[in-house]
C-alpha cells in the first residue's frame, strides 16, 4: 500500500454518506463519469468516506479552480493564495462528515472557502496594520469621470484590493462578496453564515465606511 493513502485509509470518515438517492447504492468501486459533476461529487464524497484517497483527489481536481478563483479576492500573493486553497481542501476533508449531499458540493465548499479567507483576513488584521492607501493614486486611476478604462482587469482588481484592504475584515468581506462576487443578500448570508438582516446592516455600514475612506482622508486603519 503506498504510504500516501495510509492515513486516509486508516481513518475513514464517519457518516460521510450523502443522502441523495442519486448516489449509486451498489458498486462501491464504481466511478461516475465526470459528465454529471453533481452526481460524481456525491459518489466521490461517499467513496472518500470509505477511505478512498483517489476519490478525494478527484474532488480536489474538480473544484480547485473554483476555490482558487474565490480566494484570489482574499490575497493576491501567489504563495499565500496557494496555501489558502490547500487549507480549504484540508478543512473540507476534515468536515466532510457534515456534508449531507442536500446542496451541491460546490456550494458547501464555497462556504468553507469564504470562512477560510475571512479567518485569514482576521489573522492578518491582528498581526499588522494595512498599508496606507494613497487617495491620489485612486483619483489618478479612476479619474474625475470615473473612467478607470485605461486599467487592465488585473490592475483594477489590484486597486480594488488595496482599497478594501483599508477596511476591517468584516466590512471587507461583505463588500468583496457584494461587489466582486456579485452575491445578493441571500447568497451573502449563505456564504457568511450571517442572517439576512445582518448582511443588510453590515453592507450599509461597510459602504458608509468606504465612502468616508474615499471621500475624506484616504487612510483608515483597521480596527
Amino acid at each position: 500500500m503506498p504510504p500516501r493513502e495510509g492515513w486516509l485509509l486508516k481513518h475513514p470518515l464517519r457518516a460521510a454518506t450523502p443522502t441523495s438517492g442519486d448516489v449509486a447504492a451498489n458498486g462501491v468501486d464504481a466511478v461516475v463519469p465526470a459528465a454529471d459533476p453533481g452526481r460524481a461529487d456525491l459518489e466521490d464524497v461517499r467513496l472518500t468516506g470509505q477511505g478512498d484517497a483517489d476519490a478525494y483527489r478527484r474532488l480536489v481536481e474538480r473544484h480547485q479552480d473554483h476555490v482558487a478563483r474565490i480566494l484570489w479576492r482574499f490575497d493576491r500573493d501567489r504563495g499565500v493564495h496557494e496555501e489558502l486553497v490547500q487549507d480549504v481542501f484540508v478543512e473540507a476533508y476534515l468536515s466532510l462528515s457534515q456534508y449531507r449531499g442536500k446542496a451541491p458540493f460546490e456550494h458547501w465548499l464555497t462556504r468553507i472557502t469564504t470562512r477560510v479567507g475571512y479567518r485569514y483576513w482576521k489573522q492578518k488584521a491582528r498581526q499588522r496594520r494595512a498599508q496606507p492607501f494613497d487617495l491620489q493614486k485612486w483619483e489618478e486611476a479612476t479619474g474625475s469621470d470615473g473612467a478607470a478604462q485605461g486599467l487592465e482587469s488585473d490592475e483594477a482588481a489590484e486597486l480594488l484590493h488595496r482599497v478594501f484592504e483599508q477596511l476591517a475584515p468584516r466590512d471587507r468581506l461583505v463588500l468583496t462578496l457584494r461587489y466582486l462576487e456579485q452575491c445578493d443578500v441571500l447568497e451573502t448570508a449563505r456564504r457568511t453564515g450571517w442572517t439576512k438582516t445582518m448582511v443588510k446592516v453590515q453592507t450599509m455600514r461597510a459602504r458608509n465606511r468606504l465612502r468616508k475612506l474615499l471621500e475624506q482622508s484616504g487612510t483608515e486603519w483597521i480596527e
Binding site: 492515513w7 478525494y56 481536481e61 479552480d65 482558487a68 490547500q86 481542501f89 476533508y93 468606504l210
Partner: protein
C-alpha cells in the same frame, strides 16, 4: 461620477481577471497523509516529565533564594549606607 459608481466599474473590470491556475492536489493529499503528529516515544516522554519536574522545583527554589539573599544582604546594605553617609 459618484464613488460607488467608480467602485462598481472597477469591480466589473476586476471580475474579468483570470486568477492564476493552481494545482494543490498533491499538497492536499500530502498534508492529509501526514495526518496528526506522531505520538512521543517512551524516552521522549521521560525527558519531558524530567524537564517539567525540574521546572516545577526550580521556580520555588529560585524564589526562596531571592528571599534568602535579600535577608542576608540587609545588614551589609545598612553598613554600606552608613559608610556613604559618613563619607558625605
Amino acid at each position: 461620477m459618484k464613488w460607488d459608481q467608480k467602485i462598481e466599474r472597477l469591480a466589473a473590470q476586476a471580475r474579468r481577471e483570470s486568477p492564476p491556475r493552481v494545482d494543490v492536489t498533491c499538497r492536499v493529499l500530502g498534508a492529509l497523509t501526514a495526518g496528526p503528529a506522531e505520538p512521543l516515544t517512551v524516552t521522549e516522554r521521560l525527558w519531558l516529565c524530567l524537564a517539567a519536574a525540574s521546572s516545577a522545583i526550580a521556580v520555588p527554589v529560585a524564589a526562596a533564594a531571592v528571599l534568602l539573599y535579600t535577608r542576608s544582604a540587609q545588614p551589609l546594605h545598612e553598613i554600606a549606607e552608613a559608610i556613604s553617609w559618613a563619607i558625605q
